[in-house]
Symmetry: C2
C-alpha cells in the first residue's frame, strides 16, 4: 500500500499538504484537496493505521427517502443501524449528499476525507453517481435494496421480495382471486425492477397469467391512480398488488373517489408495512419489512466486511400482514 | 403456550412423566417418551424458561459430509460455527443422526428431547426426512446450502453460486473459450440444482450457448469421468466447469489417462476450493467458498432467529482462485 510520502512525491507536494487533505484542514484549496484524495484512492491508499484518539466513525448515506419522518420508510432502518453501531462504540454521522455532490467527489475519496470506515447506503437509485463508484469501491459499503455484482466490499441487504409477493399472491388466490394486477414505478431502480419481477414470478408459481392489461407502471403515483387504476379495473382486475404502501394508500383514496369499494369490488395489497398502513381506510393488507432488523443486519454486514467476511446478500423474511383491504372475490366477477 | 400440565392432561399421564420425557430420563419407555415429545411439539410447547443452571446448548447436524476430515468440505464450516458459538458461551454438540433416526423422531421433538435451542444443519439432501420437518419447524435452524420457503424459523446460508459461475465463465471467456461444458450431479439436492442453474444463467449472461452436447450429469463421479467426459471432449468442449472440486480432480486424473492435456487441450474449473485444490496436477482453478466464514455467519443467523430477526438467506461472495488448470484456448479449436 502506498504511504503518504508516495502520494506527496507523485503530486509534487509536501507530506504535510497530503496530511492536511486527509484531515479536512482549512488551509489548502478545495481543488488541491480533491486532487490529493482522488490520487490517494487511485493509488490504493487506505487509512489503516487509525490514530488511537481518532474516533471510530461510520456514516449512513440516504438518498430519495425522508428518513427523518418517523412515519416514513427509512426512519427505523437508520435507527436500527445506529442503535447497533453505537452499542459497539462507533460514532455514526448522516452527512448530506446530493446527486450533484456525488459528481464532485468519488465515494472512496469522500470516505477518506471524512475518516469514515464504512457506509450504510439507503434509497440510492441507479442514476445516483455513486452507484457507479460502488462497482469498484474499496471502502466497505452496505447497500439497502441495491445489489452490486462481484465487488466483495459491497453488500446487499434487503427483504426477500420474491417471498413477499408469493405470500401476497397465495393469500389473494386463496380468497378466490385470479385476475391479480400490479401497480408500480418504472424508475431506473434496482428495487423497483426487483419487485415487479417478483410479482411476475409469484404469478407464474401460482399458475396465474400476468396479463399486460392488468399491469400499470409509472414513476408518478398520480399517473398510476388516474390513468392505470381505472384501466386495470375496467379490464377486470379483482385484486391489485402495489409496489409500496404510499402508492397503495393513494389507490385506496382514488377507489373511494371512483365509488369502487375496497375490498368488495377490488382487494388492495401494499408493500413495506410503513407506520400509516394500519390507519388507512380500510386498513391496508401489506407485506412487512422489519425496518429495525434491516438496520441491525446492515450494521452486522458492514462490520463483517471489516473482518474479511464478504457477505454478498442478506435478505430478511417478508411477512404478510392481513388487514381489511383484502377480501374474498365476489361471485360473478 | 401449553404448559407441562396441559400435555400431561392431554395424554392422561402425570406431570413428572412429561418432565422425565423432556429431560431424557431412563425410567420411561422410549415409545412413551417419543409420544410425549411429539404431542408437546404438536401442541406448540417450547422450552422457554430454561433453568438457570441449564447449559445453553446448540447442535450441528451433519449429513453426507466427512466433516471430521480437515481436508474435506465441512470441517472448517463446523469449526467456524463452533468458534463463534463457544466465544458467546454456548455448548455445541454434534449428535449422530442417520436417515433412519430422522424417521423415528421429528426434528422439533429431537431438539426438545435434547434441550438444544437451535441447530446448524449441513449436507442435507432433499430426501432426508427432516427436510420435510424444516418446512414447519418451530425450533430455529440454519441450513447450509438448503432453502426452505416461508418458514421464518429456518435460514439459508451459503455462497452465491450465480456469482461464482459468472466469475468462472467470464474468466474462461476472456481466455477465448466459448464451448464451455458442465459436469455435475443429478441428485435430489437443492445445491446440485442451484449450481447447474447458475451455470446455465452464467452462460446466458455471457451470451454463450449452453449446449446439451457439452453437459453431463450423474450422481456417480465415475459415470461423469468415464461416460460424460469423453463425450464432452468429442463434442468440442474446450473448457469444463465441475460442480465440485472432488469431481474436478477426478476429471483431471481421467484427462491424464486419456492423454488429454490440461489446460492445453481443455481447461478445468472446480468449485469449493477444498484443501487439496492447490495440490492437484495441475493445481486447480476453482471457485472459493470461505468455509470458516460460512460457519461464523451460520452462527450469527441462528442467534438472530433467537432475537426475532428472521433472516431468509445470507449468501457469501464467491471468489475465483486462478491456478494452472485453466489456460487460453488453442488456436484452431
Amino acid at each position: 500500500m502506498p504511504t503518504i510520502n508516495d502520494i506527496a512525491k507523485k503530486l509534487g507536494v509536501s507530506k504535510s499538504t497530503v496530511s492536511k487533505a486527509f484531515h479536512d484542514a482549512d488551509d489548502i484549496s478545495e481543488t488541491l484537496r480533491k486532487k490529493i484524495l482522488e490520487t490517494a484512492v487511485a493509488m490504493g491508499y487506505k487509512k489503516n493505521r487509525v490514530r488511537k484518539d481518532d474516533p471510530r466513525k461510520l456514516c449512513v448515506l440516504v438518498q430519495h427517502l425522508d428518513w427523518k419522518d418517523p412515519a416514513g420508510f427509512g426512519h427505523d432502518v437508520v435507527l436500527g443501524f445506529e442503535q447497533a453501531a453505537v452499542l459497539d462504540g462507533w460514532e455514526v454521522e448522516i452527512p448530506e449528499i446530493s446527486k450533484e455532490f456525488q459528481t464532485q467527489i468519488s465515494y472512496d475519496a469522500f470516505m477518506l476525507s471524512r475518516s469514515f470506515q464504512g457506509a450504510f447506503a439507503l434509497g440510492f437509485s441507479l442514476s445516483d453517481p455513486w452507484m457507479e463508484d460502488f462497482k469498484t469501491a474499496g471502502t466497505p459499503a452496505v447497500l439497502h435494496d441495491n445489489y452490486i455484482p462481484q465487488n466483495p466490499f459491497v453488500t446487499y441487504v434487503g427483504v426477500n421480495s420474491e417471498e413477499g409477493f408469493d405470500l401476497a399472491v397465495s393469500h389473494l388466490n386463496r380468497l378466490g382471486h385470479t385476475r391479480i394486477g400490479y401497480l408500480g414505478g418504472d424508475a431506473n431502480s434496482f428495487i423497483v425492477r426487483a419487485r415487479f419481477q417478483a410479482y411476475l414470478r409469484a404469478m407464474e408459481r401460482c399458475r396465474l397469467p400476468a396479463d399486460q392489461n392488468l399491469i400499470g407502471r409509472s414513476c408518478f403515483i398520480s399517473e398510476c391512480t388516474s390513468r392505470h387504476l381505472p384501466r386495470l379495473l375496467n379490464n377486470g382486475a379483482t385484486a391489485i398488488l402495489c409496489e409500496h404502501d404510499q402508492l397503495a394508500n393513494a389507490v385506496l383514496v382514488h377507489c373511494m373517489e371512483l365509488g369502487v369499494h375496497v375490498p368488495k369490488d377490488v382487494s388492495i395489497v401494499g408493500f413495506d408495512d410503513t407506520a400509516f398502513a394500519s390507519c388507512t381506510t380500510p386498513p391496508l393488507t401489506t407485506i412487512r419489512q422489519d425496518q429495525n432488523a434491516l438496520g441491525r443486519c446492515g450494521y452486522y454486514a458492514l462490520t463483517s466486511l471489516f473482518h474479511h467476511t464478504y457477505i454478498s446478500s442478506l435478505l430478511l423474511r417478508a411477512e404478510l400482514i392481513e388487514r381489511r383491504s383484502t377480501g374474498p372475490v365476489q361471485p360473478g366477477t
